[in-house]
Structures are given as C-alpha cells and as structure tokens.
Point group: D2
Chain length 359, copies 4
C-alpha cells in the first residue's frame, strides 16, 4: 500500500513537513552487514536543502538516527527503524494559504481525497518525505555494492533547454557528478545550467530538468516477468517522486522512432560471457537484466511554488493573485540526484533478494 | 508478485505461447454487475493478430471463456476466471533457435534467470500474455464506466518518424481511433504511418511508435500518496508491457524544459467545481487525480523479431547470421491500443476501490 | 487479498460449485522441476467425494489439467495454471433454498456481504474451492520433498468423542493413514470412528473431528519473526479451510496448563546438530523452525448440511422447518486429510523460498 | 512481509529489546478522526510490566510519542509514526548467555536463521515488540468504536489448571476485567489464579494460561472468502504473538466433538434483523461475520525464562545447567489482555476498510 515499497527488501515511510519527524522502517535487510548512521548520512547530506547558492535558503541538517536493527555496527536482519527530526514542527498558519489551492500543488487533490489536509498543504506530497527514501536507499545501495559490486550514479542531463552531452556511462562517478553544484559532469553544460537556474531564481520563477541514472554491474537475471519487470518497477519508483513527469529506459522515446534493424542489440562475447554490442535495451530484455549497464532518464517539472504572481481562484472560485513568499528551490534536479539513486537502489535490492529464491 | 497486479481489483495471469492456453483470475470485481463474455471479447478482437494487412498473418480467434464468478449474467463478487485457448500448443522445435539468443529478445535473460526457457523463447515475455491483461482490463473498464462514467481511449500518435498532430482529448473516441487500420485518428498522419509500416514490412524490418491515452471523468481523489501515486502505478503498468521503453504523463519530458510560470495550471471554476485552465499536470497533482482528463504517452520500441539478417553470436560465442522466418508484426502499436487501455483501466479500478475505504 | 495465499510461492484460486470449473494459478514454482498432472492427481483422488461408504454418494472424478508453466515435463518457472472442470454446471434451483438461510452455512453472510449470492449458496465457501488448494499444494509438496526431503502427513485423530491414541510421528506415513477409510492409523480407533460416522449418517446427522499433521525434515530457520511466524501462517492456512474452528501447535491448549519447568524443551546433541529432548514447541521457537518435526492439530465442526429437521426462520423471519435433501458428507475429516497437507505444504514452500533471500 | 500486518489498515513495526526504541507506522488510518497520545497510552499502560505483584519487577513507563499523521488533534489520513523509547539500550553481556541457547527460547532458531542474533537473544521475538502492536491496535480500536460501535474485551479464562466459569459475553467490560490484577472477571477464579501465579513465582517457575476475547457489534459482512476469512486472519494475528500455542473460535475444539443437529445455530429474528439462537459459530459463517458477537480463545504456554535449574547443552553440545537470573513474568496472560485486544482490532479494522470497497 501507499506508504510501502518493495516485496522482500521493503521500505515503509512516515512523516510530513510539520510533525516531529520523518522516517522509515526498512525490512528485509540482510543480516551481518556493517552499517552505521554515517553510511546513510552521506546521501542525506547530498539531498539536504541549502547546500549551495542554487537551492533554497533553508539549511536543514537532517541528521539520521538508527532506531533498531543494528547492533555493534552490524545489521541483525530485523527491521531497521530510521528517523530524521523536523526542525520546524509548528503547523503552518491557516490564513490565506488554506483558502487558495496553489496551482499545480497537491492542496486541492489532498482536500478532495481526505476531506482535510495538513497545514503544509499536501502533506505527504512534501519533498521532506523523500528523506526517508534516501535513508532507506542508502542501506540498499550498501547491500548491492558489497554483495554484487553494483554502482549507481545519477546526474543532471538537462535543465530547461540546456542539455548536457552524452556522458561515458562506464566512467561516470559521484565524484565527477559532484564536481559542480548543479551536478552535471560536463563543465560547459554545468555552467549554462547554473546560469539558467540563477536567472529563473532572479525572475522568481522555476525551471524543470532531466536526470539520468546508470546502474553498473547488475548481474543478468534480475527482474520478474509480466508485471514486475525491472523497468516497470523502476518506472513506478521514479514516477512516485514528487514533480516527476516521465521515465524512459535505454533508447526510450527516441527508440520509438527507430527501425528494428538499427535498434536491436546484437550479442557478442565479452570477458567470457555474452554481452551486447550496443545497449539500446538499457540493460534489460523481457523485463530481466542482461548484465549490461541499466540506464534510464527521469523528467522533472519546474517547481510549482514560485514567487512570480499567478492568477488563479480560491476554493470558492473567487479570482485571486498568488505569489509564494519564502524559501523554495528554483530547480529540483540537482538535489534529486541522491533521491533517484536511492529509489533505483531500492528497486534493485528487492529484485536481487527475489532472484535468490531461485537458489 | 510477478504475475499479479493490483491491491483490491487484482489480476493474476498465466500462460505462454505454446501451452494449452492463457488466462487470468480477476479478484475484487464488485458484485451484481452485468457481465458477459461478449463484453470482454470486444477488446480481445481489437487486440488479436491478423486484423488487417498491417499486422502479422497469424489469424488467432482468441475466444474468451468465463470460468467462474458470473452467474445469470451478473458478477457474484467472487474471482472471475478467464481463459483463452492457444491454437498452436506444439512446443517449438529445439533446433537452431535454441542455440542462438535472438538480439533484443528475452531468450538470453530468461535462460540467465531460470536456467531454462520455454521453447518459444522468453515464455512469459510473449505478447500472448497480454491477452489475459486485455480480458481483465475489459472488466475493469466496464466497472469504471458504469460506476463513474470513466472513458478510456488510446490511439497511435507516432510511428517511426511520423507524428500525428494533437487530438482533441475531449472528443477522441474508439470509433474515431478505429477509423484507420493504424489506429491514428488523424487521416493524413494515418496514411503516412500506414506507408511507413508497409515499407518496413517490405524491408523485412520493423519500426517503433508511441501511443497516447486519455482517461476522462476520473473523479478527483484517486491515487495514493508516496509510493502509489496514480502516475507511478500507471508507469508501472505501462512499462510492464512487452516492448515499452518510456512513459510520460501530462507535459512529460517537454515539461522539464519549461518554467514554472508557464507550466503551472491555474485554477478556475468549471461547472460548479474547481478545474484547471490548462492541464500540463495530466490530471494528476501530488499523485492524486484532480478531475481533469488523465493523459499520458507510452513509447514502444521496434519489434525485435525481424526477417532482416542480423550478425550476432550463439550461446557459445560463435558468430552467426540470424534472419527470423515466419510471422511477426512489423509494428506493434496499432494492436497495443486495447492493451494500453486495459492496463489503464486496471490501475484506475484498483485506485477507485482503494479510495472507497475513505467512506 | 482474499483469493491469493503466499508471498513468493503464491497460489490464487477461482471457482465455485456451479460454474465451468475451479482452478488455480501457482506463481513462484522453481524452474526445472519434473512435474506432471499425475503428481497432482494423486492428492486430488484422495480428496474427491465418493471414495468409500463414509462420504457423500457424489462421485466426482476431478481430473486436473495443467494449462501452463510446464513444458516437456519440467516446470519453466512461469506461473502454472491448473483447472478441474465442474461436472454439474447448472445453477441450483431458486426455489425454497434461496428463501431460507441454512443454519451455520454461509448463505446469510454472503448475502450480507455481496448483496447477492451464488445459486449454490455461499459460493466460495463451497468445499469445491479446496480442489484448487489441493492441486497447488501437491506442487508445493513435490518441491519441498525434492529440495529438502520434507514429508507431510496428516491423519484423523478424533471423530466426535472417539479419540485415537498418540501416533509415532517419526513413523506415520500416508500408507498407514490410508489403511482405513476413515484415515486413522490406529485400527481400534478407526473401527470406532467408522461406527460413529455410519451412525450419524443413519441419523441424518453429522459429526465433527480433529486432524493431526506432522511435517518432518523441515530445516531450522524457516518462519519470519513478528507477523509471519511459521505457526501464524499455518494457523492462517488452516482456519481458512471450510468448517475449521481451531488450531494448536505442539503442546497447544494443553500446554497452557503446564509449568515452564515441565514444558520447556531442553537441548541435546542429535546426529551432530542441536535438537531438543522433548518437542512441546511443535518444532517452532520464536516463530522459526528448529529442525524438530513441526506438528499441529486442526478442529473441524460437524457438517452444517444435515437431513435432520431443523427449526429456523426464512429471510423474512417466518418460522420454517428445514431438512436438507440429497448428498452430503456426514463427517468431513477423512477427506480433509489431503487438504490440510496441501495447505501445510503451501505455507512451508513459501517460507522456504523467503528464507533463500538470506543467501 | 514479516514486519507488516494488514492490507488497507496496515501496521509495520520495528525494534527489539536493546535498541533506542520500538515503534510502528500505521498506514490507512481514516482522516479526520480525533486522536491523541493519551488514546494510545491507556492500552500501553495496561500492557506495561511492573503494574502489580503478579508480574516482573521491571517497571517500564513506555510512553508513546506520535511522530506524524496527526495535526491539531485529528488524523490527516497519512501514515502515523509511533515510537516508545527503550529505557535500557545497553546490549546485554555476551558472557554465558551467548554460548547457551535457552530452552524453548528463540536463541537457537534466530542463530539458525540469521547467522547472528541480538544480544538479547531472539531479538524480534522479544515481548517488547508487542508494544508497537498495542499502540497501533489502540488506533484501530478507536476507529472501530467510533465508526461502528465495535467493542473488544479480552480476559483471562484460565491459568494453569484453574479455569474461570463462562462469562456473560454481552456484559463483560474492561472495567470488570481490570477488577483483579490477574484480569479474570470471576472473583473466585481470580483468587485461585493469583495463588497459582504467586506459587509458581515462589518456585522460580512459570505457568501458562488461556485468554478469551469477544468483539461485539461487528456488522454482518466482514471477512473475505477463501484465504482471508475473518477467523483465518484472527488466527494469524493471535499465533503471531510470542508464546501463543493455540486458537479456537466459537465452539472450537469442543465443537469437533458435537453433532450437527446440536452444533448448528438456527436463525431467529432479533431487533428487526436476522440473528442466531445460539452462537457456536463464534459470529462467523463461511469466514464472514454474521452480526453476532465474534469470540475466540488463545492459548499461551508458560514463560520459557525460569529461575528453576534446567539441564540442557550449549551450542557445542556440552551439558550445562541453566537458571535464569533477574526479572521475568511467571505468567504472561494478565498482561497479554491488551495485546490480544489490539491484534483483534487490527484484524477487524482492516476487514472493515476492505468491505467498504463494495460501496
């Protein structure tokens, strides 16, 4: 259901903006794995607001605490409770905001769904919920790397109309990605993206972007036929992220323009095992990994909260003009990098455990 | 797990190409709904091979039988068993084919996963598995239409490099879509698409395409926060289809290029309820439907099976040349129309039932 | 949900009394296992009505057909579709019966739940639904025996007030159990039970009974802490059977009378591994198997359908006298033996696959 | 999976004895329900150790904190995070204890399962895990009472060989139950039970017992056919509790001795709706509630931890004598009362929400 993800490696999250905290229970983590809060904190630090001039001014420390499931620095195999305290627990004021559904926000839909809504608007639609995912995903990543050598790297491949050139998916690393605040490994594109974000910020506006992600060393055989294909679970994971609007794997929408004779990936011997000459499949065939890098792209819309004035109506239909005050990210994609990596890790860790049932 | 989809309105499928049949169990169908095999057959007929000159030569009748859950023409509320017999139950020959993994097919990955594979290659990756989905989806559609007036229409919006112009999402109907064999409601585009498909067929090649789909009259409030957002389940559903490579909802990848001031959908009063002026959100905000049409697009790669010669290697790494013989669709998208509609219906029916828990 | 059981080894069933058939989809069956319809038929034959003078006169052949998931006599790893045709598909007459809810039957509750009910009364509460479970369970049993040497044997340990003495749980076999029609391995008790059943039949009455079951060679480590303890899943499985009223594992209700100093099972070395001197735990500690035989008991109430006259009321509250005509079992427990074995096998096969995730 | 229970009203728990805390995420709680920590604390206080002379000397305050899902005293519809801090977070000493598997404890099976175990032995098998269940169950209870008037009352019906007479299930209340420390509403039996518990305590021994539970005002129609019958889910819930060995509903094991003519519950008009004259069915027919009180019994074995000396072996098979030091309950059943009530509430709340899908 709604707040849980995964079958065997399973994360359940809680928390919205103005409550004591956000957190997760991660069930199915294999026993005897070394794990400390610091292993998790690394990705939370990459996700936190206020890292640099491109994001919101809010500076949230977001320190994770491990509540259970780990003893003497090793996992027990029992569920791992994780919590990050919210700094600001005061429910927001119920003045103007509560009378006006913010355009392209979840205020209206939460009210339609629940007949109520959190003071912070669409409570669980808040980006703070992703803290719990990143924390859980960091554990999944550690498992995947230690057991299978799986490496997951995401980066910003476009901001607005600025596209980064193709990167070398075999070489791209988090170090390269974090070389720029905008998390684009191509220096020239990073410069243009940065300019774009600063410009929209100046204009009290926002802008969308696209993240790419590659998962290397995924063994052949992960992914379940029919409904739980690897790409289906990955799409589910990515489209469950706030502001995401699209997902494509391998050749994606561009592949839909091609002919089979061009698009097919012929086999070839690689280091003693079968591999493919090209990788338009994105590392997946028939929903199952084939040993080649799994790569995909995720589209994020521009942040809905903007300082720019918007003409809209209140819940009663009266015309109003709305201009958000305060702190917001003009572009979410740089901070979405660890979030995308975490969701990818959750999908792969679950498929890894499921495949183990085949002995 | 793998062969099941949905939480309350739940479908479980079985069957591959060369076994007695394919089918489904549909659990959670509301009681006292009129239902006959003919209600289901309509969509199966739109899916079946050999409808016209654009598809494979195989002409499969694909008659559905209702095995349980219906009595005196009404649903009982118990699970509905559905079956469609396979015409050709002979397992394929284990000659050449079994020694060569077909490029961009599931032969290799199924072998990696299971240590065996069906004689027809990647058994459950077969398009015949989608028969069970279409049959189940037809029941979901009937429920959605009768209870909520929901209408779901999919159409072909591109084949290879041929794009159809935007259609009027309020007006598009299955009658308009079925006006051409290629299932594109724009006559000029349909003509070009048809030419393209006939050309690739002549060239013993294949070509990809994109389907669009709109779901009208979805009430506000469907979709679950966090992991089971409407668009997340829809992406899961669509990327679980054979040959699909991408999904986008509303503004999609194009929306990632825009600014918030342009992209946001301001509210406005419409027939006594709040609606939005534009619909870049695709009918969903914060993962929950807002009462506007839900629309999305799905990219399909070109069919992997082609008569064109391909250089590849066999399982032992020996270079071989492969050219598929026999019957295949040069372009899957026209026949994918009812499949996409069915998966959309399964997602929405499940979310409708889940939302009912809120009384 | 309702018609599915299991997480990885997962069975979904369909069918009621008066429809074309009953059946199941079994997902998660490991690939490359030898399997034929005959492997399944053996247990169906032990379940079928009309085997001997103790049961109903109905003689149903109940031949199973494998619809998918098996090729050349081996499992593929894909879902296995199973079907058994119903002989009598005519919906029952809607005369007297439909106006009177039969005492201790599901007629009334199904109507309360669904606002309708199958012509055969509480459709899915029919004993015919258990055919699908037995078919699925036979596959689970084969997997458990071949992979782990697990042996599951159930027998009748009481009918009415007739109790069988303790049996030797290490020695009991299906051959011994099937030595009497009543399926009690103790000859003297079997004779008394038989007399009791014939007496209630003569009196147009029915009588309850208790089944015992032992599962040998279950490796230590199966069962999941907290909610999915081995005994919790086993109790779930057994109380999901029609007419079951109670479940106890190991010392059970009798154990609740004892003191810890008597009840505890001390450890001892057995064949090079730790075992326990006594086995009041029933092979499970903390919800996890300990390598000792898992054994439990299941109570079944007397059949609700009796020829004996009963004073009751119709749906409108008018007093009526009801006396069932036709065919029914005066005592369900002899035929419940393979059903209990099958449900036990489904629980254990699922836990076996889940434990594999720990590598 | 293991740490989650329920489909729509779903609880996921974390925590063992020696970690920062134990807690739960409760998903699916209906929005706009009044809820405070005090609503939950009431049941936690009835569960906590050290309430009186019958239990352990440990006095644990077990204060619950609501972490999310509630604002301004009302539920939001989002997941409710709950936490109770552990007082003693020091992992236990790894001296003698870790070399000797305590008889009838989970030490050995956890080691077999995970290849490691928490310093407190079978970590998740600890009774502290039930804190999370009681907290979650208190929310379920409040929902059931406010929406449907459902009342759930459990009491001690036997301790060792002391049985309480039948109670009036229509009249029994928590006030009556809490009238004695041993939580048996019959004063004479309570006196004998108390004597028995004090005697076993003096003898450094322990004793088992049986809890009864009644759920009144459950509407007809709850419970799902086939695998998720009301009694199946209830048995699952109860057998998932530490130390439980048996479950019976309605007539239970005694019913297995009866004839159908005696056991059947004839219908009768009651306050304008159909009811039954007797209630041997325990309020459930065909797995679905019939509007009569749902009642059942749960057997608990004697506490495995005893001060009495036990002859056993260590992990290497060397004979040792073990005598537990320190604090333990000589009889768990008085404190198990709110735990059984909570699990019953979780089952019923889930079935209530599921039944709502039928509109």
């Amino acid at each position: 259901m709604s707040s849980s993800f995964g079958t065997l490696f399973k994360v359940t999250t809680f928390g919205e903006s103005h409550c004591p905290g956000v957190g997760a229970i991660v069930d199915g983590v294999p026993p005897r794995m070394a794990l400390t809060a610091e292993d998790i904190q690394v990705q939370l630090d990459r996700r936190r607001p206020g890292q640099n001039k491109l994001g919101t001014d809010r500076n949230e420390a977001d320190q994770v605490v491990i509540l259970s499931g780990v003893e003497f620095g090793k996992t027990l195999g029992s569920p791992i409770g994780l919590m990050v305290k919210n700094k600001d627990q005061r429910p927001g004021d119920y003045g103007t905001m509560s009378q006006i559904p913010r355009p392209s926000h979840a205020d209206y839909t939460y009210r339609a769904k629940y007949g109520t809504h959190a003071s912070s608007g669409g409570g669980r639609a808040s980006a703070r919920e992703t803290i719990a995912r990143v924390a859980a995903g960091a554990i999944a990543e550690k498992f995947l790397f230690e057991e299978y050598g799986v490496e997951i790297v995401s980066w910003v491949s476009s901001v607005g109309h600025v596209d980064a050139p193709q990167v070398d998916m075999e070489q791209i690393s988090r170090e390269l990605v974090d070389g720029s605040d905008v998390r684009c490994p191509d220096a020239a594109a990073a410069k243009l993206m940065t300019d774009e974000i600063l410009a929209v910020r100046e204009a009290k506006d926002s802008v969308g972007g696209v993240l790419s992600c590659v998962c290397r060393n995924v063994p052949a055989g992960w992914g379940e036929p029919a409904f739980d294909r690897l790409e289906a679970l990955m799409a589910h994971a990515m489209l469950s992220l706030p502001a995401s609007k699209g997902f494509e794997i391998g050749s994606g929408f561009e592949g839909a323009r091609q002919r089979g004779s061009v698009h097919n990936d012929p086999y070839v011997m690689k280091n003693g095992r079968l591999g493919t000459v090209s990788n338009r499949s994105g590392g997946v065939q028939g929903g199952i990994s084939n040993g080649e890098p799994v790569y995909f792209r995720v589209a994020f819309k521009p942040t809905a909260t903007i300082g720019h004035e918007q003409a809209t109506v209140d819940y009663d239909g009266n015309p109003v003009t709305l201009a958000a005050k305060g702190r917001h990210d003009p572009c979410v994609v740089p901070r979405a990098v660890p979030i995308v990596e975490s969701m990818a890790a959750l999908v792969l860790a679950d498929l890894a455990l499921i495949q183990r049932m085949r002995g």
